[in-house]
Amino acid sequence: MLRLVSTVSRPTSTGLLGKVVASSHTQNCTRRPFSSTSPKQADITLTVDGKEVTVPQGSALIQACEAAGSTIPRFCYHDRLAIAGNCRMCLVEVERSPKPVASCAMPAMPGSKVWTNTPLVHEAREGVMEFLLANHPLDCPICDQGGECDLQDQSMRYGSDRTRFHEITGKRAVENKDLGPLVKTSMNRCIQCTRCVRFANEVAGVEELGTTGRGNDMQIGMYVEKTMNSELSGNIVDLCPVGALTSKPYAYHARPWELKNTESVDVLDAVGSNIRVDSRGVQVMRIQPRTNDDVNEEWISDKTRYAYDGLKFQRLTTPLIKQGDRFVAASWEDALNAIATGLAASGAKDNEIQAIAGHLADTESLVALKDLVNKLGSDNLALDQVNGTSSPVHGIDIRSNYLFNSTIPGVEQADAILLVGTNPRHEAAVLNSRIRKSWLHTSLEVGLIGERVDTAYGYEYLGADAKALTDFVSGKGEFAKKFAAAKRPLIIVGSSLAEHPDGQGVYGQLAKFVEANKSKLVTPEWNGFSVLQRAASRSAAYDIGFTPSKKASETKPKFIYLLNADEVDPKSIPENAFVVYQGHHGDIGAQLADVCLPGAAYTEKSVTWVNTEGRAQLGRTAVPPPGAARDDWKVIRALSEIVGSPLPYDDVLTLRDRMWDISPSLVRYDITESTSTDVALVGLKTLSAKANAKVSGEKFLKPITNFYQTDVISRASVTMADCTKAFVKNEKEEFSNLGKGPQAAFA
């Protein structure tokens, strides 16, 4: 039983949202018991290993030691989780303390003298290590953690070179738990650091994970048989300092020293999580998070982490030309010529040439495609979403109208959040963990307008449609009063709202509300009007103006160019139109096409991605594209030559110069550029002008019904299909039997 965990978990948090919402009494009496974020206090100075170091008051001793450059071994301590102090590995010697002190659980005191490298400390570490290893199986050669195991590394560094335990009574045996298709458990190896328990309870919101039993019998689990249903469950694999929790899809596939690490950016949602792509040869073996406090901290969602096996299946590896009712492989030259011929034969002119950009289109190829289509005299640039063929309701002239203006770390400063037509848990799982963190530790109030969902934190449910918003805007209801009283209110608008028939009216009402409360919502320090995009390419598409003109959106296209567009409604494509699909997976888009051009997936190209905050980040090539597939922008460049309107850039640097011309923010990497208050207000004015647009009162539906399958990569992924079965359809499956049944051809 973990004291710290039980204090953070609020009684009415997960799965009980009906209760949270229903009874206001519950709401009042279950206020968060403790505020664990203490205000920043004065700095203190202490001496570590003879070196003076200054740290903020309230820091743990281990942080002071780190600041002084002394490495402290640890298993249970993790700077993003609550302190447990149960592994005892971080013992240090403190002056006038009779015993070694666990530095993670000891506050740094002014003037104290600490030693981390004395015989006493060495002996203490060796002793702790000996006890940890007493029950740890010696199966390192077959353990997936081998090579990146904290226990292995630290026992080499700090442990004794021989054992005094001769295993007369044997080693502790604990049965393995079934946590679902993602996390493999080998509980004999567990050293009970409880990092996974703390992560699940504090960050992921899975309060079913805990410790049962006591002493030597203590074990990690859920007591009852249950899978770990969370979008962030993969992170416990990273957190586990030993091989007790390992990745199931990656099991026995590779060793860490065989892998090439490429730092890149995730594209399966619009957060732009920083990732490290681990590849061996031409295969992506796994995806790990990369720390970036401004975006994803240290976490990534399970889709980001585990959808990589989708990169192996359903790939387009060679250009294809449709002949009759089947595709025939062709050379690049033939395919591009076929497109030129098709374009001429279709008779498409001006706006009859349409380009549709999908979720996974990179910024470079969007720019190239827009330039090409514009060169061919068309303005018909559509996006692969509902109402994507008309100009978006929020417009694209002012950036703050479609970006997440508060920025992702800014979410933690908000003291009241209104979610409109969005479920951040599925649209941006990592962002959702920040809201949960803030909800746990501060007095944050959350309200939701839209479909009822389990968000992993309590919220006040305001209604499902535009009427609820009208009520909120007019100040009706308790939440509206709380929101009005908040110092840093935040409105998070879901991307699906722009696709909703009431989008115009809703945006208008919200903009009007924000304008009326601009002293709080739009200030130089704080912009509380944020739009949460869910497609990686969307912000970039808006930034470069990849939207149709009014005239173009009314034109029936004769030639359609699908760039990674796989959500298109086949009915929306005219019967006799000539369709080109460029992308990396054979999904819906490719089926509709007359010519398919194989492009590169996000791990195979070095391109710019703009996340929902408008933060441009550079993805990097980890593996080469398969077969004849090529970088997307190069394909478009080559096509422009064949259709007779060559684009003026031959390499990626000149292309990025062109991007600079369009919008400098596209190539200013890793930063967000905030919109100034005045400009943001102008943007809001354009929206609020339409506040009186008619609303149908149709309910706001969540855009993502299955978190695990939202794009071509995750739809092609076997792991994601398993997750869908286990978590979305709740089909009970014996995952341990997976290897025994009939196998897919790839295995």
Binding site: C29, P33, P137, K171, E207, E208, T211, G213, Y223, V224
Partner: protein, 244 residues
């Protein structure tokens, strides 16, 4: 050399080497839940009206936001109502009552050994075997209990379901060692004979008088008093006449 090889072959074939030779140490209890016909989430449990009233009193002792502080007394109440053991339904019910995540209740229930997560007999005999009792002959007492109940072992229940015997750690009655606990009552200063008597009377359905079985008053010196032997003085004695 070849002869040697011929000789050695059958030896190797016979004695296959095990890859793992480490023995596994298993816990004496299960720390995960397994659905059984007598213990599963579908069995309903609810406090009786009297117990619910008691539970509300317990909950009222704590501030409303710390309702979960009542988890241990409530689990005890639930265990008493549920024939001496805490089933998964009891834990789930208490979690619901205290608005806790069920896992937090499971953690508590598995941590404390006095919550029985398996059914027990009608009389729950707990024999203390910690050092003071052991020095005073608790091994013999335990053996007597076990053999008198038909040769069961500690941790087992008799076939008729009347008695469950377990070894427990110190109950804090060391001055009256050896001792055993039946239900909530302590039986102290035991000898094999008195132990048998106690078991027999429980078997007959009687409740023997709890406390020391040797006849001494609580934990007074068994050899008679050595101090405070005179009559204790009453109120008013040795006072000024005015106050008498």
């Amino acid at each position: 050399m070849s002869l040697l090889r011929c000789l050695s072959r059958p030896v190797f074939a016979g004695a296959r080497r095990q890859i793992s030779t480490t023995a596994a140490t298993r816990s004496d209890a299960l720390f995960v839940h397994r659905d059984t016909p007598y213990n599963n989430t579908k069995i309903a449990f609810e406090f009786s009206p009297e117990n619910l009233k008691k539970a509300q009193q317990v909950i009222a002792r704590y501030p409303p936001q710390y309702k979960k502080a009542a988890v241990i007394p409530l689990l005890d109440l639930g265990q008493r109502q549920n024939k001496g053991w805490t089933s998964i339904s009891v834990m789930d019910y208490i979690a619901k009552l205290l608005e806790m995540t069920p896992m937090r209740v499971y953690e508590v229930a598995t941590f404390y050994t006095m919550f029985n997560r398996e059914p027990i007999g009608q009389h729950f005999v707990q024999v203390c075997t910690t050092t003071p009792c052991m020095l005073r002959g608790s091994t013999e007492i335990l053996d007597t209990v076990c053999s008198h109940l038909g040769g069961i072992h500690a941790g087992q229940t008799t076939k008729d379901g009347k008695f469950t015997v377990i070894e427990v750690e110190c109950q804090g009655a060391c001055s009256n060692a050896p001792m055993l606990v039946v239900g909530d009552d302590f039986y102290e200063d035991l000898t094999p004979e008195t132990t048998k008597k106690i078991i027999d009377s429980f078997a007959r359905g009687e409740v023997p008088k709890p406390g020391p079985q040797s006849g001494r008053q609580t934990s007074e010196n068994s050899a008679g008093l050595t101090a405070l032997t005179s009559k204790p003085y009453g109120p008013g004695e040795f006072c000024q006449p005015d106050f008498q």
